[in-house]
C-alpha cells in the first residue's frame, strides 16, 4: 500500500513519513500554488495578441496554457509574475501590473 | 599432528615465480591438501625482484602473513643470489633450490655461511630443450615437488597432464613439452 502523501505535512511525526522521502505520485508540483508568491501580475490583451506563441515556452512555470494551438489567459495559480512573457512579446500583448490582483 | 611446509619463491617480474607458486598450490590442492599461494605485491616491473609464497598443510591455514622461516626456497633466477638474501630464515633441515647450470658447490661458494642443502636444476636448459623457450616454471615446479617429496611422482605427473590440458586447451601442442620438462626435472633430481 502506498502512503497517501497528501496527508504528510510539517506536523507529521517521523514514523509517518515515507522511507527515503519517496514521493508516490507524478506531477505533484501542480498542487503547490506558487501564484501566492507573485507581487507583479501580467495582464493579457487578447486584441493585441497574434498567437505567435513565443511566450508559452519562455514561461519558467508553464503558466501560459496552450489549447489547440492557441493561448488564452494565464494560470494565475502558478504564475510567479516574473515578467519574461511581457518582455519577449513582440506585440505588447502582455503588460505587468504591480500587486498580485488578477 | 599438523604437517605444514612453507616455501618462498624468488624470481624477477615476468619470469613466473608467482605463477609457479599458484601452480604448486593448485596441484597440492588436487591432492587434498590445504594450500595457500600468494605473491608479495609492490610496484612490480618486468625484471624487478619479486617474492611469492606457498603454505601446504594437512590442516586449514589461518595465518595470513608472509613467510620468514621457510622450509624451502626456490630461486627462479640465479642472478638474484647476488642481490637478494635468498637464504634468509631458511630452516637448516630444508633446502635451497636454484635454477642454474652450476653445481651446488659453485652456488654454495656464493653463499658464505649457508650450511643447508642446495639443489641445482638447469631449468632454463630443460625449458629451452622441451619448449624451445626460456619458461622455467614447469621445471621449477617439478624440482620443488621432487625436493620436498610433497607428492608421489606418477600421481603428480597425471595431475599435471590434466592441469596442462585444461590450461592450454587452445594450444594443446605445448602440453607435451611441459610434461617432458617435468619428467626431465624429476629424473635429474631423483
Amino acid at each position: 500500500m502506498r502512503t497517501d502523501i497528501t496527508n504528510i505535512n510539517k506536523q507529521t511525526p517521523y514514523t509517518g513519513l515515507t522511507e527515503a522521502l519517496e514521493v508516490y505520485a507524478g506531477g505533484t508540483s501542480v498542487h503547490f500554488n506558487t501564484g501566492d508568491w507573485r507581487n507583479n501580475t501580467p495582464v493579457y490583451h487578447a486584441d493585441k495578441c497574434r498567437q505567435c506563441l513565443l511566450c508559452a515556452p519562455c514561461c519558467p512555470d508553464s503558466s501560459i496554457p496552450v489549447t489547440d494551438g492557441k493561448r488564452a489567459g494565464f494560470d494565475y495559480d502558478h504564475c510567479k509574475g516574473c515578467g519574461i512573457c511581457a518582455e519577449v512579446c513582440p506585440f505588447d500583448a502582455m503588460e505587468m501590473k504591480a500587486g498580485n490582483e488578477v | 599432528m599438523k604437517q605444514q611446509i612453507e616455501i618462498r619463491w624468488h624470481g624477477r617480474g615476468g619470469q613466473g615465480a608467482k605463477t609457479a607458486a599458484l601452480l604448486l598450490a593448485d596441484v597440492a590442492f588436487k591432492f587434498g591438501k590445504n594450500v595457500q599461494g600468494f605473491p608479495e605485491y609492490g610496484p612490480e616491473r618486468m625484471g624487478a625482484p619479486i617474492t611469492a609464497y606457498n603454505r601446504i598443510s594437512s590442516d586449514p591455514i589461518r595465518v595470513h602473513s608472509n613467510i620468514y622461516d621457510p622450509d624451502y626456497v626456490a630461486v627462479v633466477d640465479e642472478t638474484l643470489i647476488q642481490s637478494v638474501d635468498v637464504t634468509a630464515g631458511l630452516k637448516p633441515e630444508g633446502a635451497l633450490i636454484v635454477n642454474t647450470p652450476k653445481s651446488s658447490d659453485e652456488i654454495r661458494a656464493q653463499l658464505p655461511g649457508f650450511e643447508g642443502k642446495i639443489v641445482t636444476i638447469d631449468a632454463r636448459r630443460i625449458a629451452e630443450k622441451t619448449l624451445g623457450k626460456n619458461f622455467p616454471n614447469s621445471s621449477m615446479l617439478a624440482a620443488v615437488v621432487a625436493v620436498t617429496g610433497l607428492l608421489p611422482r606418477e600421481e603428480f605427473l597425471k595431475e599435471m597432464r590434466a592441469a596442462y590440458a585444461h590450461k592450454f586447451a587452445k594450444k594443446p601442442e605445448v602440453v607435451e613439452g611441459n610434461m617432458k620438462a617435468l619428467e626431465m626435472t624429476l629424473d635429474a633430481i631423483a
Binding site: 514514523t15 513519513l17 527515503a20 522521502l21 514521493v23 508516490y24 | 609492490g42 589461518r62 595470513h64
Partner: protein, 406 residues
C-alpha cells in the same frame, strides 16, 4: 560461534571444495547471484573482479549489464540510477575509488538503495601505496552503509552471498559493503567450499522491490529536495533501518548456516570462554591472531580473539558483553584516526564498554598500515604487553604502532 569450519552435517546442499583467490571467489559469487547491473571502474587490488565478471559475461555465463564508466564517481552514480530504476545492482572498488564515490555513497544510503559494493580494502594515500589497510572502509564509516568484513576468501564468498538478502530486506533497504583485505586475501589462492549454483540462486531469490522508478503506471519521485522540516525525521528513519538490519543480519546468517554448515554472527569469538586476554580486530589478521592464541594457550596463557565481522551496524552492546569476562583487551585498528584512541575500533569499542559499565583494561594498537605484515609474533608481542601489564607492570603507552622502526 565457529566460522570457517565446514562441518557439512545437517546441511542441505553439497559443499564443493575449490581453491581460489579472494577476488576469484567474489567474482564466482557474482556469477551465481547474477545481479542485473554492474557499473564499475577498475582500481587495484579490486580490478580483477570487474575483469572476471566481464569474462563471465563474454562467455555467456552471466547476463548482468556491465557498464564501463569513466570513474568511480560515475560508477556509484550509475549504480544509484540502476537500483532506483528497480535493478539489482552491484559494483566493486578499492581505496581512492571508494573515496571518489564519497558523495554518492551517502546518497545511495539516504535514498535507501540496497546496492552491494564489494570493497577490496587498500590504504588511502598518502604515502601513495597499493597495499592493504582499512582506511578506505573506515573512511566511509559514517555514510550509512552496512559494512561486513572477511577474514579469508571463504568468508568473502559467504558474505557476498548473504549481502543482497540483508540489503534488500523490506525492513532494511540499505546499501551494503562486503569487504576483504587487499592482496592478503584478494590475491591469495586458498581452499574454500563453494555452493552449487542452484542453491545460491534459491537462497538469494529474485529482487522484487515494492517501489521503483520504472514501475508501470505507478509514477514516483526519489531523492526530492527536503526542507529543513523533514531532514531529521528522514535521518531518524534511516537510523532505524540500520538498527533493524541487526536482526536481519542474524536471521540471514542462520538461514545461510542451515544451507552451508557455516555459521556467522556480528563477530566470531575464538577461545574467549575463559580468556583473560582478548585481542579484538577485523579482517585477515584475525586468522594470524588465532594461531598466536593457540601457541599462547599451549604455554598456559588464557588468550582469545574476537574477530569483528559486522562493523556497521556496530554491535557495541554485544561486544561489551563478550569482553566483560576478560582482564584486558587489545583493540587493533588497521587505520589511523588521529583521535587519541588509535583507530575507529579503539574509539567505538571503548565507548561501548563505558556505556555498558564494563571496567576492563584496554590497550589500543595500530597495525598493518599500507600492507605492513602482521605476523604471529606481532600478535604475541601485543598479548605479552597485556600479560605484563596485568601481572603488575606499568600500563603500556597507548596508541602505539605495532612493528614501528625506532
Amino acid at each position: 560461534m565457529s566460522m570457517n569450519e565446514n562441518t557439512n552435517q545437517n546441511t542441505i546442499v553439497e559443499a564443493i571444495p575449490e581453491r581460489m583467490s579472494g577476488n576469484e571467489a567474489v567474482a564466482y559469487a557474482i556469477r551465481q547471484v547474477n545481479p542485473d547491473v554492474m557499473p564499475a571502474f577498475p582500481i587495484t587490488p579490486s580490478t580483477e573482479i570487474p575483469q572476471m565478471v566481464s569474462t563471465y559475461i563474454s562467455n555467456g555465463q552471466l547476463d548482468t549489464e556491465f557498464i564501463p564508466v569513466e570513474s568511480e564517481h560515475s560508477a556509484m552514480s550509475a549504480a544509484i540510477g540502476a537500483e532506483a530504476a528497480g535493478a539489482r545492482t552491484m559494483t566493486a572498488t578499492s581505496s581512492a575509488g571508494l573515496a571518489l564515490m564519497w558523495e554518492e555513497l551517502l546518497l545511495a544510503a539516504s535514498n535507501r538503495l540496497p546496492i552491494a559494493l564489494t570493497l577490496v580494502n587498500r590504504t588511502l594515500s598518502g604515502p601513495i601505496n597499493i597495499n592493504c589497510d582499512h582506511s578506505d572502509g573506515m573512511g566511509a564509516r559514517d555514510t550509512g552503509w552496512i559494512q561486513i568484513y572477511a577474514e579469508n576468501n571463504q568468508e568473502a564468498y559467504d558474505n557476498y552471498i548473504q549481502a543482497f538478502r540483508i540489503a534488500e530486506h523490506k525492513d532494511v533497504r540499505l546499501p551494503i559493503m562486503i569487504c576483504q583485505d587487499g592482496f592478503i586475501t584478494s590475491h591469495a589462492v586458498q581452499n574454500l567450499y563453494l555452493l552449487p549454483d542452484e542453491a545460491v540462486k534459491d537462497f538469494v531469490g529474485t529482487y522484487e522491490p515494492e517501489e521503483y522508478l520504472l514501475k508501470p503506471h505507478q509514477p514516483m519521485a526519489l531523492g526530492p529536495y527536503s526542507e529543513t522540516d523533514y531532514v531529521m525525521e528522514a535521518k531518524k528513519n534511516q537510523l532505524d533501518a540500520m538498527n533493524r538490519s541487526r536482526q536481519v543480519i542474524l536471521d540471514v546468517a542462520d538461514e545461510f548456516a542451515q544451507m552451508s554448515g557455516r555459521s556467522y554472527g556480528f563477530f566470531e569469538e575464538y577461545r574467549t570462554d575463559d580468556a583473560d586476554y582478548i585481542m579484538l580486530l577485523m579482517g585477515s589478521a584475525a586468522g594470524t591472531a588465532k594461531d598466536a592464541v593457540d601457541e599462547l594457550r599451549e604455554a598456559g596463557i588464557k588468550a582469545g580473539v574476537i574477530k569483528l565481522r559486522v562493523f556497521r551496524p556496530f554491535p557495541e552492546k554485544e561486544l561489551a558483553k563478550a569482553l566483560s569476562g576478560c582482564k584486558a583487551c587489545a583493540i587493533l585498528d588497521r587505520c589511523e584516526s588521529y583521535n587519541g584512541n588509535s583507530g575507529v575500533l579503539g574509539s567505538e569499542v571503548t565507548a561501548g564498554l563505558y556505556r555498558a559499565g564494563v571496567q576492563i583494561r584496554t590497550l589500543n594498537r595500530i597495525y598493518g598500515l599500507g600492507g605492513r605484515d602482521f605476523t604471529v609474533d606481532s600478535a604475541k608481542s601485543v598479548f605479552e604487553e597485556l600479560t605484563n601489564w596485568m601481572d603488575g607492570g606499568e600500563e603500556p603507552l597507548q596508541n602505539e604502532y605495532i612493528g614501528l622502526r625506532r
